[in-house]
Symmetry: C2
Subunit: 280 residues, 2 copies
C-alpha cells in the first residue's frame, strides 16, 4: 500500500522513519522544503516524493493512505485543496491537536466517508524532519475522531497505521477531544508561556541561578514551535479561554489560602499531591 505523507516535520518524518523498516508500505512524501525531502530520501525513510499535490489525482494512488502532517492552519488549507479525493478510495487522515475548526471544513463537504482525524499524543520540543525518530509513537496514545459517515474500509486503514506505529488507540468525539486537550495539553503549555513571561518581566539578572530543579523541564514546553502553538491555541480558542479562567481561579484559591489559612493550605497541597500521585 502507498502512504503519502504531506509535511515531513517531526511527526511526518517520524511516521516515515518508523514504517520504513516494514515492507508493507511504499512511502512517498510531499514537503515545500526540499531539504526535508532530500534528508528523508538519503536516510531511506521515504522511497520517493510528489512534485505537486495534484499528482494525487492519478489512478496510481487509488486505495492509498494520505497523512496530512502540517501545522493546523496549513492542514486546513491542504484539506480544502484535496477535495477531489473526498469520497474516493483514498483514505485521508491528519495529525493535529485541534479538531473542531477542521471539522467545520469537513461539514462544508458533507463529511466525506474517507476522512478520519488522528491525534498522536507524542512529540518533542524539537521540530523538523532532522529530529524525526523511529518509534516516536510507541506505547503513546493516539486519538481517532470521525463522523458516522466514515466507512469501515477507511477506518481500518487508519487504525492499522497507528497499530503498526505502536500507538494505543482511543476514540473521542471531536468536541470532547478539543475540550479535553484544552486542559490536558494546551493549558500546561499556556502555563509554561505565562510563567516564562512573568520571569521575563521580572527583569532580574541571572534569575535562572536561583531556580531549583524541575523548572527547566517545565519551561521546555515553551520551546516548541511558536507557529504550531499559535495555530493550536487560536483554533481551540473557546475551550482554552475557559481553561485559562479555571487556572486563574485555582491561582486565586491558592493566593487566598496562603494569605489567610495555612492549615487549610496544607490540606489542599496534600490532596493535590495525592491526586498527582494517583494520576500522573
Amino acid at each position: 500500500m502507498k502512504i503519502i505523507i504531506i509535511g515531513l516535520g517531526l511527526i511526518g518524518g517520524s511516521i516515515a522513519k518508523t514504517l520504513s523498516s516494514s515492507n508493507d508500505y511504499e512511502i512517498l512524501a510531499f514537503d515545500s522544503n526540499p531539504k526535508s525531502i532530500k534528508n528523508a530520501l538519503d536516510n531511506q525513510s521515504i522511497q520517493g516524493s510528489l512534485n505537486s499535490l495534484n499528482d494525487l489525482e492519478s489512478t496510481e494512488y487509488a486505495n492509498s493512505l494520505v497523512i496530512i502532517s502540517t501545522p493546523p492552519n496549513v492542514t486546513n488549507k491542504i484539506l480544502k485543496s484535496l477535495d477531489f479525493l473526498f469520497n474516493s478510495s483514498v483514505t485521508i487522515t491528519d495529525t493535529t491537536s485541534s479538531k473542531s475548526f477542521l471539522n467545520k471544513t469537513l461539514q462544508k463537504f458533507h463529511f466525506p466517508e474517507n476522512f478520519i482525524f488522528s491525534h498522536p499524543v507524542a512529540g518533542s520540543h524539537l521540530s523538523g524532519e532532522e529530529n524525526a525518530v523511529a518509534n516516536l509513537f510507541d506505547k503513546k496514545s493516539t486519538i481517532l475522531s470521525y463522523h458516522n459517515s466514515v466507512t469501515s474500509q477507511h477506518l481500518d486503514r487508519v487504525r492499522s497505521l497507528w497499530s503498526k506505529l505502536g500507538s494505543n488507540i482511543s476514540v473521542l468525539d471531536v468536541e470532547l477531544h478539543d475540550q479535553i486537550f484544552a486542559y490536558s495539553s494546551h493549558l500546561p503549555h499556556i502555563a509554561a508561556y505565562a510563567l516564562l513571561n512573568t520571569l521575563k518581566e521580572f527583569k532580574k539578572d541571572d534569575l535562572s541561578n536561583f531556580s531549583g530543579g524541575g523548572l527547566g523541564e517545565f519551561l521546555r514546553l515553551a520551546s516548541s514551535s511558536p507557529e504550531m502553538w499559535t495555530d493550536i491555541f487560536s483554533l481551540n480558542e473557546k475551550n482554552i479561554s475557559l481553561a485559562i479562567d479555571d487556572l486563574i481561579k485555582s491561582l486565586n484559591v491558592l493566593k487566598d489560602k496562603i494569605g489567610n489559612d495555612p492549615q487549610s493550605l496544607q490540606v489542599f497541597l496534600s490532596e493535590l499531591k495525592d491526586f498527582k500521585e494517583s494520576n500522573y
Copy 2:
C-alpha cells in the same frame, strides 16, 4: 571541627553524607525521628547524636558549626530556643528558602554576630534522610544572607562548609532573596499546584492519557513535602502574592492575544522561546 545537624531530612542528611567522606569534621545530629538517626549512624554519615538541643550548652561544642535543616516554621522555633548560643563561638546557619520572617526573629535578638543564612538551591521531590545523597549540592547555587553584625570568623566557617559541599556561593540581601525566590522558585511550584487543581476540578477520567511529554515532569514540582511548601508559601506571602498577580496578568495577556490577535500571539511566543533559550 564539630558539625551539628539539626533535622536529618533530605538536606541535612545529604550534608552529612557528603561530608562523611572527609576527615575534617566530626558530624553529629539531632532529629525527633529516631529512625533517621539510626539510618545515618548505620550508613556512617554521622558519628553520633544529641539527646537534647540543650546539650549544646556544653563547652565541648565551642567553635562548632550548627546547621538547622528543618521546615521553615520549625527552624524559627529552634532558632529561638538556641538563644543561649547567640554571640558565642558557635556558628549557626540554616537551609530554608524563605528568610524575611526568620530575620524578624534575629532582629528581636539584635542580630547575633554568629548567625548566617544559607539557602542551598538543591533538592528533590523526595524528602527524608532515606533519600539523602552525597553530592546533592555539587555545582548548585547556595545563597548566603547576613546582617552587617556578622563577624568574618563565623562567615568563613559557613563559606567553607558550602565550598566543601561543592556549591557556587552567592550573597543576597534578605529582602531581595525572598523577592527573587518568590518568582524563580516559589511561583513555579504555585503554577504546578494551580494546574494540578484545574485538572483535578475538570473531572474527566484518564486525563493523563491525553497529556503529552513535559507535563509529568512539571507536575513533579507538586510532589514535594506539603508541610514544607505550606511554610515556604505562608512565610513569603507578600512576595508570592505579587508574583501570583503577575502570573495572572501574563495569563490574561495570552488569553487576549489568543482571542484577538494570532499574529501578535506568534511574535509573543517566539520572543518567549528566545528568552527561554538564552536563560534556561
